[in-house]
């Protein structure tokens, strides 16, 4: 260990912190434009095509735990190095409140194993304050972001269908994959109940779009990372191509501690980081600083960048940093569909994720909660892994065998083989993902007196759902039950009621946290302007979901990508105009 502070000799045009969706897009856009960029990533290198990292196409028996989640929270084959808890990097929550924070420490961050659900926010999603009187408007509208959504669609690739729904804007789509059998059932039930069920919009290449990337061969394993680069990961689709420009200096194992500033000018001069391999302190100088460390981590970095000139943390004159943290709501239910028993066998893997979803279809003015949700679906004849066949005694006594005979639940011997075979592919699942109301009282802050193993002060969360989210979850449960019954299915378990907030997942669990470094036109109420540029420090930008004023009922990553591209192009324009 050394306590000497090293400094890199070069002064970069831009230093970027974090290589996930936001940081990756900034690195790609800026290096393509010719900027000399240094990208700092706390985690290790990762390339889904390099055999040393590959988990795709492996069979469950290659894992001694058959893919169980003992070391990786979403299972042994999942492409996430990290999780809800990381050794030596703690966080906490104020008593009586709860927040779960998922972090991946690797090139590409959480985009290596994410669900690839790539939805645009709709025009109304930027105007919640003026439309409903609850919450705030964004300083930009859909039209500001639309050109960047379009460019993101073309650059990265996405499949979907043109539906002409006002608040579910269409993109530039590749053809979607046909539905699986259970998805036909769901679609039919939705049609009967007037709930729209349309093709998913996933960033997966059902057709090739260039020579660098292959197209999907339907292994259903996007969460393991695709060795053909046929799905979107920031590592394979943005950072590795950025490296090929020759303009990118990537430094892995670089845990950024703070943003450095010139006390005279108040401008950012670079960042300092801890080399996690040697524990050495290093500083990188750059003319502009871009934070893409993920919403909560970027807030943490700014709050930790305190100086005489910026006693509340950097870019925080408004005091808003950390506040308005919000995550999607989530609730789910599963069902058993007897008519899907004893299915014919064929390869039903499909793409990594559901081929259908239900966008929000109702009018909140007629409901007792203010925001909508969409529904994601699961089911099918997937690959067995740890957990397969478990809980058989809960099901096998309920349904007669083909000869009409019923046997008592549980048992042993050859009937179990028959049970496993007859029930295979007859279960379905539904999960709602809804828009929360961003509240000032939901926030992260520096935990007094606590540091991580690098000596960097850690975060403490304060987060509670309001009645809005709870009533939304109640509505989800009613919808799920209606859908399952309409399919001829049997909802499993007890219907979650008020005692569990209707199955509403704890804050953070849906991993769509946004809002901690708000953008806005008023510098007294926001940290960033409408280009995600700090009001207080004009050469400092944030490109993750920290700037988002709200998050619609859409998964957030496609908007992180589009807005990071927009901010990066703005940086290029400002540099050309000699403004930063």
């Amino acid at each position: 260990m050394t306590f000497q502070i090293k400094e890199t000799p070069e002064i970069f045009d831009v230093v970027i912190v974090g290589s996930g969706a936001g940081g990756g897009m900034a690195a790609y856009t800026l290096t393509k434009a010719g900027a000399k960029v240094c990208l700092l990533e706390a985690g290790s290198y990762y390339d889904p095509a390099d055999p040393q990292y590959i988990t795709q196409m492996k069979n469950p028996w290659e894992s001694p735990r058959r893919g169980a989640s003992s070391t990786r929270p979403f299972g042994d084959f999942d492409a996430a190095y990290g999780g809800w808890q990381i050794d030596g990097e703690p966080y906490s929550a104020v008593k009586g409140t709860e927040f779960h924070w998922f972090r991946s420490r690797m090139l590409g961050g959480r985009t290596n194993h994410w669900g690839r659900i790539s939805l645009r926010f709709g025009p109304n999603d930027f105007k919640r304050g003026s439309l409903t009187g609850i919450g705030d408007d964004w300083p930009i509208g859909y039209d500001d972001l639309k050109p960047f959504y379009d460019k993101t669609d073309k650059l990265i690739g996405i499949f979907g269908s043109v539906e002409n729904m006002f608040n579910e804007p269409d993109g530039i789509f590749l053809p979607p994959p046909p539905m699986r059998l259970h998805e036909h059932f769901i679609k039919k039930a939705g049609t009967n109940l007037k709930i729209p069920v349309i093709p998913s919009r996933l960033s997966i290449l059902t057709r090739p779009i260039n020579n660098e990337r292959g197209s999907c061969f339907y292994c259903s394993q996007c969460s393991r990372g695709c060795n053909k680069y046929a799905d979107f990961s920031s590592s394979s689709v943005l950072v590795i191509p950025a490296m090929k420009t020759g303009n990118l200096t990537l430094i892995n194992h670089a845990m950024v501690r703070e943003v450095l500033t010139d006390q005279a000018t108040g401008l950012a001069t670079g960042v300092s980081y801890v080399d996690t391999k040697t524990m050495a302190e290093v500083s990188v100088r750059a003319k502009r600083v871009v934070l893409g460390a993920s919403a909560c981590e970027s807030a943490r970095l700014l709050l930790n960048s305190k100086s005489a000139r910026f006693p509340q943390g950097l870019a925080n004159t408004s005091g808003v940093i950390g506040k308005y943290l919000n995550d999607s709501t989530g609730a789910s239910r599963s069902g058993f569909v007897p008519s899907l028993m004893n299915r014919d066998r064929y390869n039903e893997d499909g793409v990594g994720g559901s081929h259908i979803y239900s966008p929000w279809w109702l009018d909140n003015n007629k409901l007792d909660f203010a925001r909508g949700y969409h529904i994601e679906y699961g089911g099918g004849m997937g690959m067995p892994g740890y957990g397969f066949g478990m809980g058989m005694h809960n099901n096998n006594g309920k349904y007669p065998y083909p000869n009409g005979e019923k046997l008592p639940a549980g048992g042993y011997g050859s009937r179990l083989r028959e049970d496993v075979n007859r029930f295979y592919g007859a279960h379905i699942g539904m999960a709602g993902r809804g828009e929360p109301i961003p509240l000032e009282t939901n926030y992260c802050e520096i935990d007094p007196g606590k540091v991580d193993k690098f000596g960097i002060p850690t975060l403490r969360f304060h987060y509670k759902w309001s009645d809005q989210e709870i009533m939304q979850a109640k509505h989800m449960q009613d919808t799920f039950e209606e859908m399952i019954i309409e399919m001829g299915g049997i909802p499993l378990g007890n219907k979650p009621g008020p005692e569990t907030n209707y199955g509403l997942e704890a804050p953070g669990k849906i991993i769509h946290e946004v809002g901690t470094v708000r953008m806005g036109d008023n510098p007294n109420r926001s940290a960033l302007n409408k280009y995600q540029q700090a009001h207080d420090v004009k050469n400092l930008f944030v490109v993750d979901a920290g700037p988002f004023v709200s998050q619609g009922d859409k998964n957030v990553t496609w908007t992180i990508l589009a807005s990071a591209m927009r901010t990066s192009e703005y940086i290029i324009d400002q540099v050309k105009a000699n403004k930063i």
Binding site: L181, F217, E348, G350, P384
Partner: protein, 204 residues
């Protein structure tokens, strides 16, 4: 296929620890709890490699406990037709690994074995593996059906549920399990929807 051919077949087509080549008669090998060392080849991080090597080098169950686990696995999923038994595809070794990998399973498993042994001694004066097959089945029948079992044996029911869970998962995550299930995925293909006759069957 004759049983012996079948077993040869499994060892030829299977990989590593998960399908350790074990005959029912060779329970001592399993009992030693030392499955063949496997070189991990599925994208492990250095920390994960270290953790797995450590777990694999340790032994959790005693030979006596392994014998009970093996007997139960054999009762829960015996061989059928051309499909091997749970024991033949190495499920006992898998359960040994799970106990080390998921410490919360240790007490239910070890305690469950103790409960079973105690119950067997009370009823028949001997360890579960030493009593006659008929007596073994008397005990199993008392604990294998949660809705019929008496409250007095609820601990045994919970243990048997756990053993059934682990045996089914252990078996169906092997090549033989894929075959029994008819799982034909995890290979490159061009997805064009379910076969026409399947759609027709359901009027889609």
């Amino acid at each position: 296929m004759k049983r012996r051919d079948l077993i040869k077949n499994i060892t030829l087509t299977s990989v590593g620890l998960a399908t350790a080549q074990v005959l029912p008669a060779q329970t001592e090998n399993i009992a030693a709890g030392k499955p063949k060392k496997q070189k991990s080849n599925y994208g492990r991080t250095p920390d994960e490699v270290k953790r797995d090597e450590k777990l694999i080098s340790e032994t959790f169950f005693t030979p006596g406990e392994m014998a009970v686990i093996t007997k139960l696995c054999d009762i829960i999923l015996p061989a059928e037709g051309t499909s091997p038994s749970a024991v033949q595809v190495g499920v006992p070794a898998f359960i040994e690994f799970i106990a080390k990998d998921m410490p919360y399973q240790q007490v239910p498993l070890r305690g469950g074995i103790m409960w079973l042994e105690n119950y067997s001694r009370k009823l028949f004066g001997k360890s579960f593996v030493a009593i006659t097959p008929a007596n073994q089945m008397t005990i199993v029948d008392a604990i294998a059906y949660p809705e019929l079992a008496t409250p007095a044996v609820s601990a045994g029911v919970a243990f048997f549920n756990l053993m059934r869970d682990l045996t089914l998962t252990g078996f169906y995550t092997t090549e033989a399990g894929f075959e029994d299930l008819g799982y034909v995925g995890n290979r490159p293909n061009n997805w064009e929807g379910p076969p026409a006759e399947v759609l027709k069957k359901f009027n889609f």
